[in-house]
């Protein structure tokens, strides 16, 4: 069982506040990803949950029981480190066996030489050996058990580290960027394997990454952490389609979401670089806004169409399956990126004038502080009727 409740968690190193009032409920058996740029406090949060670091505020509970006072070894939580942290002087088998040795055997039984003479030691060792063999078989590393970490490849070390975490059947797994040291191809493969493993074990996993592809493909829910603030928690799709803040919208998605300057026009309408969008967001006239549109949401319009962004093609990236068109748009500071199918993109060339239409239901509006503005209920109904 491993439902984890984090409430009001804060952490400062001296005067530097690394985590600010983080609250989060993780259900038993859930796969939750902590997503954020490097340095945002992800590892710190994980290490606090593990009991390796001490919070300066707030508390953590597992299955309703506060664990704040417990040392790491009493928390029944396993962790897989980015560097794998395998003991270099021990074979894979003894690496995996160590957590069991420490838990099941008394200090006397653990003693070299003397320990093996004590009653029960041999039986315990045999049982530990069986458990290690079982985990190794499940992870397909049985043939590596006699090697030391120095003789293992990155992917193999990864599996041994996973085995060491799994062997004692913890209440929850914490994984700190476990795939970041692998090459791209292996990373994709391990992604699938980890998801599969989670399904089989049905144990809570908190997975830390700065890679949004991992977050999007593996998780039940994603928690976006930036600058020590938990900005949004939700299923991957929601984080992508329905971000709460501009920061989240900008961090998630590749290529990055286009952010355009906007301004409140007549009630319910937003002026955005010549396009008038019936977005129905609340706010007085002339309030500055930001309008964000994902590259795949923009639509190529006829050059003479009204209510469009206008500009010229600056650069075309043909990726085979898609075509990314970068266009200089009048009034926009950065080039606007549009994702087109290769056929449509192929018809364009550098310098071609283009017009881009923003479908109103795909536009995300944020206020000047980057907070999401949603259509108020009345205008939303109106809009639905209009569409």
């Amino acid at each position: 069982m491993g439902a984890i409740t984090i409430s009001g968690l804060g952490k400062s190193f001296g005067t530097v506040e690394v985590l600010k009032d983080v609250s989060l409920d993780i259900a038993d058996g859930e796969f939750l990803t902590l997503l954020g740029p490097s340095g945002c406090g992800k590892s710190t949060l994980l290490r606090i949950i593990a009991g390796l670091e001490r919070q300066t505020a707030g508390s953590i509970a597992i299955d309703g029981r506060a664990i704040d006072g417990l040392p790491a070894k009493a928390r029944n939580i396993a962790m897989v480190f980015q560097s794998y942290a395998l003991y270099p002087h021990l074979t894979a088998a003894r690496n995996i066996a160590l957590p069991l040795t420490m838990r099941r055997m008394t200090p006397w039984q653990r003693l070299p030489l003397v320990g093996s003479l004590l009653p029960g030691t041999r039986g315990l060792r045999a049982a530990i050996g069986r458990d290690v063999a079982g985990v190794a078989a499940a992870l397909d590393i049985a043939h590596l058990l006699d090697r030391k970490p120095g003789q293992l490849s990155g992917g193999q070390k990864q599996r041994v580290a996973l085995a060491r975490a799994m062997v004692r059947q913890p209440a929850a797994f914490l994984l700190d960027e476990p795939l970041s040291n692998l090459d791209a191809k292996l990373r994709v493969q391990m992604r699938a394997e980890l998801t599969d493993l989670h399904r089989r074990l049905a144990t809570t996993m908190i997975y830390v990454t700065h890679d949004q592809a991992e977050a999007m493909t593996m998780s039940d829910r994603v928690a976006v952490l930036m600058g020590g603030d938990l900005l949004q928690v939700g299923p991957p799709r929601r984080i992508y389609d329905d971000p709460e803040t501009l920061q989240v919208a900008e961090f998630v998605g590749s290529p990055k979401i286009n952010v355009l300057p906007g301004r409140m026009g007549r009630p319910g309408l937003v002026d955005c670089l010549g396009a008038r969008l019936p977005l129905g967001v609340p706010g007085g006239p002339d309030v500055a806004l930001r309008v964000a549109v994902r590259p795949e949401a923009l639509v190529l319009a006829r050059p003479d169409a009204a209510d469009c962004l206008r500009g010229r093609v600056r650069h075309i990236e043909n990726l085979g399956s898609d075509c990314m068109v970068h266009a200089d748009v009048e009034g926009a500071a950065d080039p606007v990126v549009v994702r087109l199918d290769p056929e449509a993109g192929g018809r364009l060339a550098r310098g071609t004038p283009i017009a881009l239409e923003i479908p109103p239901h795909r536009a995300l509006v944020f206020d000047a502080e980057g907070k999401r503005l949603r259509p108020d209920a009345a205008t939303a109904r109106l809009r639905r009727a209009g569409a």
Partner: protein
């Protein structure tokens, strides 16, 4: 550079280095050579390496009977082993705590270690002597070992080494259920083996060869360490019976020299670190 030039350079290099090596090794060679010669050959003026009449048995026999050479060597082993064992036992936990544990006063303690590192070995000699005199321990193994049971250099060296062990490894061990002592014993010690060898070499060489302190505290011949024993031997001979004297010095120098020739790389690496020691 053409071939002929480079040949000249190579020859010149060997000529200079060989000449130097002859000077460096001459004392050793001459010591051995003399230890094999009878007195009349030693006092003759012709320079020959090998004796005409082998006198090794007589010289070495005399060396071992005139003074208790084996006793000196045994004392050397007891003292250096005792010192190193104590230093290890005391320094390792301290070095680990200073490298990996957080507690108030850690930095102050480390500063004290650095201060200790800078104090030349002879400075605390007088108060140490007074202390041992007052507790009546002068002229004993305790007097030879106790002042060196803690080594600031050992703490410093091992701490620096432990700091290179990734924190993640310590954290993984904590999650796996190890206490601090077990982390030290199961994880850090095996990893620190090379550093411990370096420390062992430095400590053993320093205390096997130490002359000042045994000279100060030892009066009876039975407690003499090898260097002090050599001096006793020399004084006994009044500098005339060179054959046995040289045999004695061969015996005294042999252990470290053989150790060095057996593990040259480690010895040199280890001794290079002594530069850090005051």
């Amino acid at each position: 550079m053409n071939r002929q030039q480079s040949l000249t350079v190579a020859l010149l290099r060997h000529a200079v280095l060989l000449a130097g090596a002859v000077i460096m090794l001459a004392p050793f060679v001459w010591m051995i050579s003399t230890s094999l010669k009878p007195p009349n050959e030693i006092f003759s003026t012709d320079l020959s390496l090998l004796p005409r009449k082998w006198f090794a048995l007589e010289n070495y026999g005399k060396a071992f009977t005139k003074v208790p050479l084996l006793r000196y060597l045994l004392n050397g082993v007891i003292v250096t082993a005792g010192i190193f064992a104590a230093q290890l036992l005391v320094s390792l936990p301290c070095a680990y705590a200073m490298a990996k544990l957080r507690f108030r006063g850690r930095e102050v303690m480390f500063t004290l270690v650095l201060v200790g590192l800078m104090i030349p070995a002879q400075v605390p000699a007088i108060p140490r002597y007074v202390m041992l005199y007052q507790v009546g321990l002068l002229d004993s193994y305790a007097a030879l070992i106790l002042p060196f049971v803690v080594s600031a250099f050992g703490i410093f060296l091992m701490r620096q080494f432990f700091r290179t062990v990734p924190d993640d490894l310590v954290h993984a061990a904590r999650l796996d259920g190890c206490g601090e002592f077990e982390i030290l014993w199961r994880i850090m010690l095996p990893l620190a083996f090379p550093a411990m060898v370096a420390f062992a070499i430095i400590s053993v060489v320093a205390h096997w060869n130490d002359f000042f302190w045994p000279l100060v505290v030892v009066q009876t011949g039975d407690l003499a360490t090898p260097p002090l024993g050599t001096l006793f031997f020399r004084n006994e001979e009044a500098g005339s019976d060179f054959g046995p004297l040289m045999a004695g010095t061969v015996v005294i120098t042999a252990p470290l020299v053989l150790l060095f020739l057996g593990a040259q790389r480690r010895f040199i690496e280890g001794m290079t670190l002594t530069g850090m020691k005051g």
